[in-house]
């Protein structure tokens, strides 16, 4: 006892030390929050789950408009945009305080959207009225609408922001739209029920997943030709359970990840050879994918197991799962 008592700092010293700790804490809270946060839209709970990227714990559950689906962040990571599908609007949240700042007009039933790489405008797919709505994020005004195929959903934009690709689930096309003229330049037939369009970060190809067709079409955006149709086969899984939806490609363009819906797997694909390297078992009905800002991890939303899975990209292994609200749909992570 005496030994440990001797090591204790004297009372004045202890006060000094405490003051130092308090000052450090104050400074820490004054600085902007630097930790990564993961935002997940929960379609059936009408909420957004906020997860701390370091502790991997849920830190907040935010009430949103009804049926939140598409979710994305502004390029600076300060704003979170959500499609509130049943409220026919886009909601904009502060990524630090989780407060809703404003709403944007979206047209009916917005499902998915994509931001121009500069952060403005926002391109929104209206599932119910066969339109892509273009909204100025600064003024909150609708710029125009582009008529597309039936049941538009997937939205991808080229890295230079010049080409927008929308997919229509019933027409089974990828519509290539010029962002200069806001008109369709070409329509490409793909397999049944195309869900997502995702450009390689170098703009060389755009990957379009077909949920019912069970394939991914890789399209050259210059020639509008399909250069490869990727098919999937998993031992012990019936072909009809393989329903490709979410697609993400690493910033070095080398690896693509494709979420396979009720197959509960994410395919890891070499973007040069199109060889499927692995099928990672994640959660039930894996839907959308999002990278961590440092691209070390990939998050998957699992709609039927009500959780997200975390994939370590270097080792291509599933690290763990985190419970969210009911039917998690989309995810985005900000620094």
């Amino acid at each position: 006892m005496t030994a440990s008592a001797d090591r204790r700092p004297s009372a004045p010293r202890a006060r000094l030390w405490l003051a130092g700790v308090a000052a450090a804490a104050l400074l820490g809270s004054a600085a902007p929050a630097a930790a990564e946060r993961i935002f997940v839209s929960n379609e059936r709970d009408h909420t957004m789950t906020v997860i701390d990227g370091e502790t991997l714990k849920v830190i907040e559950t935010v009430k949103t408009g009804r049926r939140p689906r598409g979710i994305t962040a502004s390029p600076d990571g300060k704003l979170i945009y959500i499609c509130a599908s049943d409220d026919n609007r886009v909601e904009v949240y502060d990524a630090a305080t989780y407060k809703m700042l404003r709403t944007l007009p979206s047209g009916p039933d917005p499902e998915l959207f994509v931001l121009h790489p500069s952060g403005n405008p926002l391109y929104i797919a209206n599932e119910d009225d066969n339109m892509v709505t273009i909204v100025d994020t600064a003024t909150g005004q609708k710029i125009t609408e582009v008529p597309v195929g039936v049941e538009p959903e997937g939205m991808g934009i080229s890295p230079d922001g010049k080409v927008l690709v929308n997919t229509s689930e019933t027409t089974n096309m990828a519509h290539f739209i010029s962002t200069d003229t806001n008109e369709i330049v070409e329509n490409v037939l793909v397999d049944s029920r195309p869900r997502i369009a995702e450009f390689r970060p170098d703009g060389k190809h755009v990957w379009v997943s077909a949920e019912v067709g069970g394939t991914v079409s890789v399209i050259d955006p210059k020639t509008h030709q399909i250069v490869k149709r990727i098919t999937f086969e998993i031992p012990g899984v019936t072909p009809e359970a393989i329903q490709p939806v979410g697609v993400r490609i690493t910033s070095d363009n080398s690896t693509a990840f494709v979420a396979l819906g009720p197959a509960n797997r994410v395919a890891v694909i070499d973007t040069e050879t199109f060889e499927i390297k692995k099928y990672l078992l994640v959660g039930q009905r894996v839907w959308q994918l999002a990278f961590s800002p440092d691209q070390k991890r990939l998050y998957t939303t699992n709609g039927n197991s009500n959780d997200i899975s975390i994939i370590d990209i270097a080792s291509e292994k599933v690290l763990k799962s985190i419970t969210t609200g009911r039917s998690p749909w989309g995810a985005v992570a900000v620094p």
Binding site: T171, M173, H175, I184, V212, T215, G236
Partner: protein
Amino acid sequence: MTITQRARRAATARLAAGALIAAVAAGGAAAQDQTAAGPATLAQAGAGGGPKTPLPAPTPRAEQPGQGRAAQGKPGPDSDWPCIQPKVGALSYGQMWAGPPLDEAIAKWRDDPHVADLVPLLVARRTKRDEAQAAIDRFTAAAGPEKNAQLTLLFAGVFSEINAARSAVITGIERYARKQRALSERIKEASLKLAAERKDMATQMSPEFQKKEEALNWDTRIYDERAQALTYVCESPVILEQLAFERGRDIQAKLDN
């Protein structure tokens, strides 16, 4: 509309029709599902150059996943299936198991007494997740160096049992739907008959008529209550699939890679 405008529109329409034929011919190889392509809209075919492949005329929304396969040679939508959830006949183990192939284990798991003892606890819906995890922990510890093989057998048992229970639930739902359909026919016939008999006040007040009316009211009430219960009944296959997945996840967490 001026003559020039009309001529221009006609020319655009011809252009669109030509492009459409070319597009359908070209698309045939690439696309698995052809959409019924109608004439292109003027908005699309107009404006200098436009897309080579025009938009087809709007068609009704496509079938949702789970129904669409019917168009590809699989059995058609089942008229006995009353649920919003697509009917998935049997689960496949690859949806919840990334370990070694299970075919042999599915045939043999009952022969192992430890596995056969634990499976009923793990497949019971009342067993809480932490209880199940604790039981799997004990099983893993007891298996020693054989744990990968033992855990594979354990999951094979859990999967087979839940899959069998789920199939029974699906058969039950179909039987339930058939009964409901028969009941609805009966209600329809009885109400038509009663309407025809309802000629005057005297008939309506007769004990015989009132008895029939009461029977009809009861049938209608039973039908309505069963229809409401269907929402819960339809969730059962999904709940069982979630249970199989959760147990699979917990068992795989104990496997050595």
